[in-house]
């Protein structure tokens, strides 16, 4: 399958990149590692007339630690994340999430920014143009039906990024810039909740990096992912947990986030009552499972049925919580 025609721009500074994004507002897309975007272009799901490649913007690459805060440039390859001791020492969830993306060759190309900003997925959408032309266009492709839920009136595509749930659990913040203006947005707020356009960024905006506060000593995090093949697949469901314990060893607070549930990562709200002031053994996971994924509408548009994926949410969430609270946990080495 050939790529559609496009102009390639290769700025070397952030300013240049931002001006190009503004100049071609709406018809340009940022190109990072291309592992998400290029397949979409081959399928004609994206046909930007200009690609603004960030490959040569060197200052967007790298991981640094300053003033109790870790900053990860948007163009940092996932392979670098996986081999970074700053990440493995402080953010096991992020390390595990990065490691679980695709397969090793993908990690070499894929970037942090691209991973966060990837589009949501659906078995009936991520198909070639020829394939899609054999049936009416669905909502996400600009039409007005849904093939996954024939009577549905919205899009149920699934955001399948691995990093975002971990970053949300870690309370990470994205640096978002457009020409002449920058803002900080929590990763959670980067998501629109709308399957048609899951990423809440302006057309001229770029994510330049992600900042995460160093964790407290007594806290630990973990990411668990379920996929069809351990070698390569996108998540079918995933969960990230970040837990802090008090001096007495009891759980002080926990943040639990689900991935591959719907168009955005989902923070499981109101979990304090299940955990706070308790030891791991005292946690009532059965009760917790009652609220996990409640209200999530998971449909048959990925490898396994929505009902099964939904049932797996609490299983995978429990695994993530247990791993984050594992005695002696806190550091994860390669």
């Amino acid at each position: 399958m050939r790529l559609p025609h496009f102009d390639l721009r290769q700025p070397s500074t952030v300013e240049e990149a931002l001006s190009l994004m503004e100049e071609f507002r709406g018809s340009a897309l940022a190109l990072a590692g291309g592992t998400d975007l290029i397949p979409l272009m081959r399928y004609r799901l994206e046909v930007p007339s200009t690609l603004v490649s960030l490959q040569k913007v060197d200052c967007l690459k790298g991981i640094s630690l300053q003033d109790g805060r870790v900053f990860i440039g948007a163009m940092t390859p996932l392979a670098d994340l996986v081999s970074s001791s700053i990440i493995s020492d402080n953010f096991p969830a992020l390390l595990q999430a990065a490691r679980a993306v695709g397969a090793p060759p993908i990690l070499n190309l894929a970037t942090v920014g691209g991973n966060i900003c990837q589009n949501s997925r659906c078995l009936y959408y991520n198909q070639s143009r020829t394939w899609r032309l054999e049936r009416p266009a669905c909502f996400k492709a600009g039409g007005n039906v849904c093939h996954a839920v024939p009577k549905g009136n919205k899009c149920f595509s699934v955001y399948s990024g691995d990093l975002a749930p971990a970053l949300v659990a870690l309370d990470a913040v994205a640096a978002v810039e457009k020409r002449g203006r920058s803002r900080s947005v929590s990763i959670e707020e980067l998501f629109s909740g709308n399957g048609l356009h899951p990423i809440a960024l302006g057309k001229e905006e770029l994510v330049t990096g992600v900042a995460i506060l160093l964790p407290e000593k007594s806290s630990n995090s973990s990411y668990m992912k379920m996929r069809a093949r351990p070698s390569i697949d996108y998540p079918l469901v995933s969960a990230a947990a970040c837990a802090t314990r008090g001096g007495n060893g009891k759980i002080e607070k926990i943040r639990l986030v689900l991935g591959a549930v719907g168009p955005s990562p989902v923070v499981v709200g109101d979990v304090g009552r299940f955990f706070e002031g308790k030891t791991l053994d005292e946690v009532d996971f059965d009760a917790l499972s009652e609220i996990i994924g409640k209200g999530a509408r998971m449909v048959d548009n990925l490898t396994f049925p929505g009902s099964y994926r939904k049932a797996m949410l609490s299983v995978i969430a429990e695994k993530a919580v247990r791993a984050a609270l594992r005695p002696g946990a806190g550091k994860e080495k390669q």
Partner: protein, 788 residues
């Protein structure tokens, strides 16, 4: 053991370096000046009448050089089987009706891909959609939409029957009446892809001399020539099919594929080279998947587990045309009767048309499905009788020398030993018992062990039935081998060169091989039917022997010695009792040319199996022999089942096998690993998902084939191979297909051992597994067996 230098050794592959460095030329890499891009227009409907096709706009598009539809063709049908009972049933370009999504309507050749794509969009086809049916059991109902009339010789009131195989022996009813236990079970399997890495690709050039030259990714060039010549109405002399490197086939590239025909027809129309390369999506949508099979099996046993009788009913969904459907229902019978004694059997297999894709054979061609059914049931019976699965198999396994109902002898069949050795190596009995006990404990991850077995044929009679080879000594003493065999990735060129090197005493690196060109190389049986090393290998051996004989005769004369006193080694011939009397191969060749009026040294060899068997076996009645060498395997799988997620993981597969003599042990182990991986995909993850006849997961991301990182640990035990090392090193048996079955079955049985869940349908989806585990926890009365 014989003193062997090349045969029996793990010689590195001849094509290894060129492939590993990316320089091997596959069909997609072959280019010719002026070459055009060909594309195919396909039906979006599973079943429709074609009312009209208008190609005028496409033809007028600048850059388009040729457009073809059925109107340009001779409308000659072809088929995987083309016999009086099962005549060819498929047009290479749809004439007035399409019967599956993806059926070929038209072809275009244009100067580039974009133009070709645009031209396709300009072809206007008017369809009248017809009712379609996708489930074979539904398609058999008298009120189902008719895809083709049922076969005239099938008397049952079923619709859409493409073919039937029926056979029986013994008195099955009596056997069931006398049985202590009779079980009847039904097993289903998914539709699978072959998963070859290189997609289908063809370059055709009809030149001005009137010759059609075809480079195509295939499994054998002679069959392609025969089918292209027939459908294009050309004499063999006008069709040349040439070798390219092939990136895997697994059964999925036999037979004529329509892009081969279409590229040829386009080139005949415009006299320019036309290349068609499938996208992966087209491979899923328009090339052929494997044969699914539903197997209903009823087995009666005595109290001690001896099988008394079996009744088997198999239903094949052949898709829109015969494909290999009428073959798989015949083979399925063979895979049922070969490994174990079945004193009475009634077998019926139906091949049923549906509006699904046409199918091709896939590695094992029915065996994984038949063995899955038979041996899952073996374990169910063994469990009910309280017999260990290994004991059950040993009680029923065929003995060396057993004569099968079709007249075949299993000869020195090693299955008993395979079962014993694999059970011993894996401590099967203890672990099987232990797992059963542990099933009831609280652990969330259950472990189990299971066994599966197979027997497999090799080198059976199918077009072109035999292989020939030529071995030529060059005047520098080096050797050239000419063979029609096509290396599809299994390493046959390496193996054939090893045989020449062994027989002629030349270093294997110095054997040049010229392969797979219908014009210049002798005929070859092809890379299917698991016979290449056996059939072609023995033809090559004979050719090398004959060349050696001529060489020695020339040397004897030159040295004034008796031929029987000569020893040849490393391109030198010397007299055994007087080693300084020597002559080089080059010298002997020169002597032959000088003395024998110019005779250079060429040896020829020919080989076919079952020399006294004039006929192919009957697909309808199963009469006729199958093979003269049955391989056998027993495999044990160890699995882990996560009872919270339903996910099954294979920890290890151990294989004990009787494959005759392994000419290249590393290649044999490669075959085993490849098949374990294929079996893993079959039982756990792979499935072509179809909605209304349309494949919804036509990519390697969504079709879940195991990747290298998913590969399970493997272990091998060579069984009777040792006996072959003494003087029988060309008695090879099949190694390319059978092991898939044992893997599938052993995993299914191990899952039962771990959890108590009986797998009746492949693949084992985690959601199905969870549901089954839930049902176990809330048991309900379910008994299908009856005890007398």
């Amino acid at each position: 053991m014989d003193d062997l230098s090349y045969v029996g050794r793990s010689i590195p592959r001849k094509d290894g370096p060129i492939k590993a460095t990316g320089r091997a030329k596959y069909t997609v890499d072959v280019t010719l000046p002026g070459m055009l891009v060909g594309k195919v227009l396909r039906s979006p409907h599973p079943h429709a009448r074609i009312l009209s096709i208008d190609t005028s706009k496409a033809t007028r598009l600048p850059g388009v050089k040729a457009v073809v539809t059925a109107a340009d063709s001779l409308k000659i049908k072809h088929g995987f089987v083309d016999t009086p009972r099962y005549p060819a049933d498929q047009y290479p370009l749809a004439v007035d009706r399409v019967r599956h999504v993806g059926e070929d309507i038209a072809g275009v050749a244009a100067i580039d891909e974009d133009t070709a794509e645009e031209a396709l969009s300009l072809i206007e086809v008017e369809y009248e959609p017809l009712a379609a049916v996708f489930d074979p059991e539904e398609a058999m109902r008298p009120d189902a939409p008719e895809i083709h009339p049922s076969h005239p010789k099938v008397n049952e009131p079923y619709r859409n029957i493409g073919g039937k195989t029926a056979t029986s022996w013994g008195d099955v009813e009596k056997a069931f009446a006398e049985s202590y236990l009779v079980r009847e079970d039904k097993f289903y399997c998914q539709m699978r892809a072959h998963g070859y890495m290189e997609p289908q690709a063809t370059l055709a050039h009809f030149d001005y001399s009137g010759k059609l030259n075809v480079w195509t990714s295939s499994m054998g060039v002679f069959l392609k020539r025969a089918k292209l010549a027939k459908t294009l109405g050309l004499p063999y002399g006008s069709v040349r099919v040439l070798k390219t490197y092939v990136g895997g086939a697994f059964g999925g590239k036999i037979d004529l594929f329509h892009h081969e025909y279409i590229a040829s027809l386009l080139s005949m129309k415009c006299h320019l080279p036309v290349k068609i390369v499938y996208s992966r999506e087209e491979v899923f949508k328009a090339a052929r998947p494997a044969q699914p099979l539903i197997v209903q099996i009823k087995t009666g046993v005595a109290k001690d587990g001896t099988i008394l009788g079996q009744e088997i009913h198999a239903i094949n969904d052949s898709g829109a045309y015969h494909g290999s459907g009428v073959v798989v229902i015949f083979l399925a019978w063979g895979f049922a009767m070969a490994p174990y004694r079945v004193p009475s059997l009634k077998y019926e297999g139906y091949s049923v048309y549906t509006n699904n894709l046409v199918r091709a054979p896939q590695r094992g061609h029915g065996a994984p499905k038949m063995r899955f059914a038979a041996e899952s049931q073996f374990d169910m019976i063994a469990e009910e009788l309280g017999i260990d699965p290994v004991e059950f198999r040993l009680r029923n396994v065929r003995k060396p020398g057993d004569i099968l109902p079709n007249g075949d002898s299993v000869k020195n069949f090693g299955l008993r030993e395979c079962i014993e050795r694999v059970a011993e190596r894996t401590d099967f009995k203890n672990r099987h018992e232990a797992a059963k006990r542990e099933r009831e404990t609280g652990s969330k991850v259950k472990r189990g062990i299971g066994i599966g077995t197979t027997a497999y044929f090799g080198g059976s009679l199918i077009y072109p039935n035999s292989s020939s080879a030529l071995v030529r000594l060059n005047d520098d003493g080096s050797v050239s081998l000419l063979t029609g065999a096509l290396d599809i990735g299994q390493g046959c060129e390496t193996v054939l060169c090893q045989i020449v090197a062994e027989e002629l005493g030349v270093p294997v690196e110095e054997v040049q091989i010229y392969a797979a060109d219908t014009e210049t190389t002798p005929v070859d049986i092809g890379s299917w039917i698991s016979g290449l090393t056996y059939v072609t290998g023995n033809a090559v051996k004979k050719a090398a022997e004959q060349a050696m004989k001529k060489l020695l005769a020339a040397a004897a004369r030159e040295l004034g010695a008796d031929v029987n006193d000569l020893v040849a080694r490393n391109k030198e011939i010397f007299v055994s009792h007087c080693p300084d009397k020597t002559i080089s191969y080059a010298g002997a060749v020169a002597a032959s040319i000088a003395r024998d009026r110019g005779d250079s040294i060429i040896g020829e060899g020919h080989f076919r199996t079952m020399k006294d068997e004039p006929f192919h076996p009957s697909l309808a009645s199963t009469k006729g022999r199958w093979t003269e060498n049955y391989s056998s395997y027993a495999q044990v799988a160890e699995v882990e089942v996560d009872t919270e997620t339903g996910v099954v993981k294979i920890a290890k597969v151990t294989t004990a096998h009787d494959c005759g003599f392994p000419v290249n042990p590393a290649l044999v182990e490669g075959q085993i690993d490849g098949q374990v991986s294929m079996g893993q995909g079959h039982i756990l993850t792979e499935e072509i998902r179809v909605e209304n006849g349309c494949v919804i997961n036509p990519s390697f991301l969504e079709y879940k084939i195991p990747c290298s990182l998913d590969m399970v640990e493997t272990d091998y035990i060579d069984v009777i191979t040792e006996q072959y090392k003494r003087g029988h090193h060309y008695n090879t048996k099949e190694v390319g297909e059978g092991y898939v079955s044992g893997t599938v079955v052993s995993v299914a049985n191990a899952v039962f051992n771990a959890t108590g869940v009986r797998v009746r349908k492949t693949p084992i989806h985690p959601h199905d597994m969870l549901a089954a585990l839930d049902r176990l926890r809330t048991p309900k009365e379910e008994k299908k067996s009856g005890r007398s």
